[in-house]
Amino acid sequence: MGLGMRNSVDLAVKQANEQNLVPGWTFVLDAEDDQASADAGKNAATKLAADDEVIGVVGPLNSSVGQSVAPIYNSANIVLISPANTNPSLTKGSDLANPKRQWESYFRTCTTDDVQGPFAAKYAFGAGLTSAATIHDKKTYGQGLVEHFTEGFTADGGTITTAETINPDDKDFSAVISKVKATNPKFVYYGGEYPQAGPLSQQMKAAGLNVPLFGGDGIYDPKYISLAGATSTGDLATSVGAPAAQLPGAAAFVDAYKKAGYSEEYGAYGPYAYDAARAIIKAAAESLKNASSPREARTAEIKAVGQVSFDGTTGKVAFDQYGDAKTRILTVYKVENGTWVPEKTDDFQTGSGSSASASSSASPSASAAS
């Protein structure tokens, strides 16, 4: 997955040089491997932060790595745009009710986990699934998912028939399933991960509760289907982002990527990495104009990235006051014939999230379309 991201950034860099997007400057890609580990990521970040030629960084893939490298880039005033960190706390802090920007230099082009619940609620309600039972595993991820889902679902007019929890170590869910079954929900929304969700789905169907199980990206995994077995057909999951084939502006990117002849697939996050690199390059056209070295331009670069707005591969690329992408694309997947099949991809706008960001309305260099 990481190599697809690197190739996508490489592609954006090559295109920028070919098209001379920033006159007088040539972009060079210096790729470091964080090995999905916070320690290796820190070493790479320290190395890059000490390099005067670095104007911006695209990455990392894992939220946990993002947590440890973001402060390093932030203190060096280097802009960091992650194409794949989905943990909401990276931008808004751990208390989502009172969001507080964590690092001025941190941005991301992907969607965060906290919109998955409301997105699922909206999809389910639209599909006629108007009553739900919720179950979560009491972990941060699962509980958060269910809380956000419940909020969105009841606001849409849906009914929660019962709210249950399980222990992550449990194997036997028959008692809680019998309890849920008595309330006749049209589906079960589960907050948690596939090792519990798979058996839960299997036991639900075996106990005669023949309704879909709906979960987040924690269950969006082939292993879920193998654990849940044949009766998992019709189960649903949301995941952030979209298969590139379904993104509106992706055709040009997919073409160029294929032409460039990379040996790895661009993967789920390639288009997001490409957009992240393009955001850095577009902002650099502003920040490097009057600068003598990339180091000098870094503060201006952070400001300029905060104000970019252009039509990218993954939709409109622009950041809100926390550094999150304003475009929030998610996809609902459904189990059919033993695989996850994309069911619906949509741009999800939360009412409160998009109104508060007035600062980015002035988009300086968006006219330099490629």
Partner: protein
């Protein structure tokens, strides 16, 4: 709802009971709490899966032939694996420590437990053609049991629940017969009452201890297969929680007492199921079921320290 949860609880409890017998038999003879017993249960499930894989993962396991021929073969495979590992464990980890202070074999048991988990996790998938055991593995569906339920008077009863309860009934009957009607069984009773005197009377104490471990392991293997059929997947950690619950069941019923282990398992299962439904409000539901199960355990132990059924196989204290 009440009967539905009663069935849920009884079938879960039957699983606990089958495992709990292993704790109780071993404790009754050597006064050792064998914390690796949960892993014996796990080995039984993996043994059955191994037989299935060695037969070439045949698709007709989900036919009548699968039910009548392959399931018994898988159970025998599971029992062989579990008994084999239990005897090896007794020989290597416990017998050398038999005269050591009581804490030593207990720590040894914890070590065996962790070792067995890691051995299965790391090496099971290395056998050519076997699935990776780092995550849960799908257990084969057997015709007429996996995922099938019958409706009796408004209650959905899964065939796997009936299978578990039937297995418990058969195993308990077998155990009763073995202990009360065979020479080996009487030797076990004698050894549990006074090992020194028993050995003076010509009873081979080592052999009796091995029989105790083997009996417990065989029942745990049956439970492992029942677990696989009921939950359709097995993993290397499945013995940890199940073993803890089964140990609780053994204490609840009166450790050292075989009938007590069965009764304790059933009571524990039913309490968990009922607590999920009938305790209202913040402290109810599935999240608190274990808390209520342990509340019952504590209450029983306060008023009956010897457990529900006292101590039929007398505890030498």
């Amino acid at each position: 709802m009440f009967f539905q949860q009663l069935i849920n609880g009884l079938s879960l409890g039957a699983l606990y009971g089958l495992i709990a017998v292993g704790y109780t038999v071993v404790y009754g003879i050597v006064k050792l709490i064998n914390f690796a017993h949960g892993e014996i249960f796990m080995s039984g499930a993996f043994g059955a899966l191994t037989v299935y894989l060695l037969m070439g993962s045949p698709a007709h396991v989900s036919t009548l032939f699968g039910l009548c021929v392959m399931l018994p073969l898988m159970m025998i495979g599971g029992i062989i694996a579990a008994v084999g590992i239990a005897l090896l464990m007794e020989r290597l980890a416990y017998r050398p420590l038999r005269d050591a202070p009581r804490l030593a074999p207990l720590i040894s048991a914890i070590g065996v437990s962790i070792s067995l988990q890691e051995i299965f996790r790391l090496f099971y998938g290395r056998i050519p053609g076997f699935p990776d055991a780092h995550a849960a593995i799908r257990f084969p569906d057997v015709a007429g049991i996996s995922g099938v339920s019958v409706r009796i008077g408004g209650v959905d009863v899964q065939m796997s629940a009936i299978f578990t309860l039937a297995a418990l009934a058969v195993c308990t009957a077998f155990l009763w017969f073995f202990i009360n009607r065979t020479r080996s069984g009487r030797a076990m009773i004698a050894t549990s009452q006074d090992p020194a005197t028993a050995s003076l009377m010509g009873i081979d104490v080592d052999r009796v201890i091995m029989i105790a471990f083997a009996l417990g392991a065989a029942l745990a293997a049956v439970a492992g297969v029942a677990h696989g059929l009921r939950y359709s997947n097995i993993d290397f950690r499945m013995g940890f929680t199940a073993g803890l619950k089964a140990f609780t069941a053994a204490v609840l019923g009166g450790i050292g007492n075989i009938n007590g282990a069965v009764v304790g398992g059933l009571v524990l299962g039913v309490v968990e199921a009922m607590a999920t439904t009938y305790i209202p409000g913040q402290f109810g539901g599935s999240a608190w079921k274990d808390v209520w199960a342990f509340v019952i355990l504590i209450l029983v132990l306060v008023f009956r320290p010897q457990g529900l059924l006292g101590s039929k196989v007398v505890d030498r204290a």
